[in-house]
């Protein structure tokens, strides 16, 4: 499986994503600069966490306009897989590759802590190695992760089984609508989520619940 990690000027989980991909797939991903308009020939594109352009104006807003995002969209349109984590999720909604928006946390504070999630949908290349309803723990680290969409959109997401991860009962860290933590695109080849699976692949760091996400990708893309 070949992958690429997009690097915006103030991405800061790009290395974390690279290390996790390397550890899980055995191959070092290509690191692609935001001003590059071409993507290398890869199966998976990762939009990492961080602050892309300082998260000024709105998180992910300026990144969604960058040169590389046109290619990322084209990659997704052709059915290529795209994973957006945290700031990457924000970039995906700002680019309209996923519906809805991520708003300031309800408590108005940045929050970094492990949260319990439920895997809601295993019919995807990102989640097939999880069990339906499986409880996992991923850390979150964001100030604007409250998922918002109008009721129709939320109904449709649920109706089409596109909610991949939900915060478990009592665990919603940011006020997200219907406890949504991560959603799939219509074609199910784009996943955006606020929690960080790449921070839980290594035992020393207190958890390995993120591994199955990368294992799913490997299986789906081989």
């Amino acid at each position: 499986m070949k992958s690429a990690v997009i690097v915006f000027p103030a991405s800061n989980c790009d290395r974390d994503a690279k290390v996790a991909l390397k550890q899980m797939t055995g191959k070092t991903p290509a690191m692609v600069w935001h001003q590059d308009s071409e993507l290398p020939d890869v199966d998976l594109v990762v939009l990492p966490g961080g602050f892309s352009y300082g998260d000024y104006l709105r998180c992910g807003a300026m990144a969604s306009q960058s040169a590389v995002m046109r290619s990322v969209k084209a990659h997704a349109d052709k059915g290529g897989m795209v994973l957006g984590v945290c700031n990457g999720f924000q970039v995906l909604t700002e680019s309209h590759m996923l519906p809805g928006a991520l708003m300031r946390n309800a408590a108005l504070k940045f929050v970094c802590k492990p949260v319990g999630l439920e895997v809601q949908e295993t019919q995807s290349g990102f989640t097939r190695k999880y069990e339906n309803g499986q409880r996992v723990t991923f850390p979150v680290a964001h100030g604007e992760g409250s998922y918002f969409a109008d009721e129709d959109t939320l109904d449709r997401l649920e109706g089409e089984n596109r909610v991949a991860f939900r915060y478990a009962k009592g665990e919603n860290p940011n006020g997200s609508a219907r406890n949504i933590a991560g959603i799939l695109s219509e074609k199910r080849n784009v996943l955006g989520l606020m929690p960080h699976p790449e921070r839980v692949v290594d035992d020393v760091l207190g958890g390995t619940d993120g591994r199955a996400l990368f294992q799913s990708l490997i299986e789906a893309l081989s």
Binding site: F51, L108, C112, A141, R199, L205
Partner: protein
Amino acid sequence: MKITPEMVREHGLSDAEYARILELMGREPSFVELGIFSVMWSEHCSYKSTRFHLKKLPTKAPWVIQGPGENAGVIDIGDGDAAIFKMESHNHPSFIEPYQGAATGVGGIMRDVFTMGARPIAMMNALRFGEPGHPKTRHLVSGVVSGIGGYGNCMGVPTVGGEVNFHPSYNGNILVNAMCVGLARQDKIFLSAAKGAGNPVVYVGSKTGRDGIHGATMASAEFDDASEEKRPTVQVGDPFTEKLLLEACLELMATDAIIAIQDMGAAGLTSSSAEMGDKGGSGIELDLDKVPQRETNMTAYEMMLSESQERMLAVLKPGREAQAEAIFKKWELDFAVIGITTDTSRLVVKHKGKVEADMPITALSDAAPVYERPYTERKPQTGEPKYDKAKPVLASLKTILASPDMASRRWVWEQYDHTVMSDTAQVPGGDAAVVRIHGTNKALAITTDVTPRYCRPDPFEGGKQAVAEAWRNLTAVGALPLAVTDNLNYGNPQKPEIMWEIVAGIDGIGAACRALDFPVIGGNCSLYNETNGEGILPTPAIGAVGLMKDVTKMATVAFKRTGDVVILIGETKGHLGQSIYLREIEGKEEGASPKVDLAIEKKHGDFVRKLIEAGRVDTVHDISDGGLLVTIAEMAMPRGIGASIGIAGLPEAIPFWFGEDQARYVIAAPFAEAEKIVAEARAAFITVAELGKTGGDKITLDSKDSISVADLKAGFENWFPNFMAGEEIPVTN
């Protein structure tokens, strides 16, 4: 412009100092020169009150690569790697504008570290606020914490720990001390000596504005039309630009284009150019017309004194300008060649065709005043405080755990991204943070410590204790303590009783560092922390770093199994003077501060560390604030595993459970291992006691009274969020 006595005074220079300036210059200084003298001779830049005493600190060890004097200290951590770290205060700006003050404090200390070639890998912060009930406290806590998070989170450097205290002595003077730890290769460390003549001096980063210009702005005719426009303004941080600056600098450092590099911190262009010239033994000539400017009509005075953030000054090898410029352009940062090094040893500043300053650099450095300020020695406070022996122990435990200085700081550290960079092996809440060296199995342990309430009654013992506690915290996770950076926060050194606190504090730190083989490789002094004549508690914060060879052996405070034997290492006499118990339960701050026996400290610590390194023990907590019972509760709460403990033949329960005797640890280990450990301790003449066993969901004392761990935890966890719930509005943009 004629310099008047008024101007001299408003630049914070004494008559004697000004006389010395006239002598050094051989003429009256220009207004710009006066401004330059005033910042370079300020307490902040020249350490004029403390330099004499700081010299007494031990700064050497085989593993010290760079001691005090550079932007940050450097130690050898094996395999060609170096840890580079430093702590710095941003107290006053944080009181004026807590969010920006704290944010720019974080930005400043990060630049000190990456200017030396290191990638920052961890941040810490030591915070002191006024009493919780003071009308400003909540607002300050909220602003400072979001400012630290706002900057550090964007930089993508994990903020992994620190400390928070509340005390009325900080009502008008909060302390915000930030520490940054970075990682570099030993053969890629950059210094600030601008050696050689004819080399280009380049300016990179943000543009210069009128940020944070202090001093005599009002005295100057240039400010006659002092409009809103020209008012000195608070520095605002731009972490996005800093992130670009970090990446661009590291990219440039990977080439061999740099001769010297230095961040522009306090007194911006002035101190960076003077220090680089001074260290390199060369002169520097600056052309201010070339300086990237954010505002119009800036004067030479303003540019030389501006404290705009996110800027660096570098001296390049000739001919490398284009290569460097390409890198900074890629990161969309300003880049300008603004000067050249010379062989004159003078700082020359030109602006609009006029020479605004021309002065010998040594006048700014070597010739800066050093004072041996008079001090009045004060006998340490003594006495055994009285207390009510009938007070129930477990009820007091609950009260203490839910008190401002002891309650969980989760509310604080959950606002910091403490796991970014995917190397945080121990998150905040334990004895020390542990951050793995990327791609290896080794790790750095990091802590900051000081117990200010011990430092007023006994500044010497307080200084010792701060170092000992830092050393103990590193030991408790299994690290070998290597070196210290300090942040000496005190009141007005021109008062002999305060000067005594400074001198004794430094002596105490020195004594402990020598005994523990724990050199000081950098530091910062923040003096004049006073409002209306009321000084803060002496607060010599100690930041310290230790090394773990094998991160998988790391110990944590949490009880992990049922049936583990709870072992107390160290002697308990029951020292209640200046204890948390006395303050929270009896409502008084009295008696002698606890004394640290440094030889015993070392012996106990070495014993505990060996057990951890050998993989024999994974559950350790040192005993500090609150005493033994608080320590045990802190071990029980993380996983809700209780313990049944007690000790036979106690003459008095309260001092035993709550005394703050030093050099102690609690460890928990399975029975067979525990028996061996106790025997080995006895054989080594270490005081050791078996207190009981872990298990259940209660803490039970002497098989009689008990209290639910969940109950304790509720109080412990809720104090901070409940306190902050009355907050006005979280700082947002």
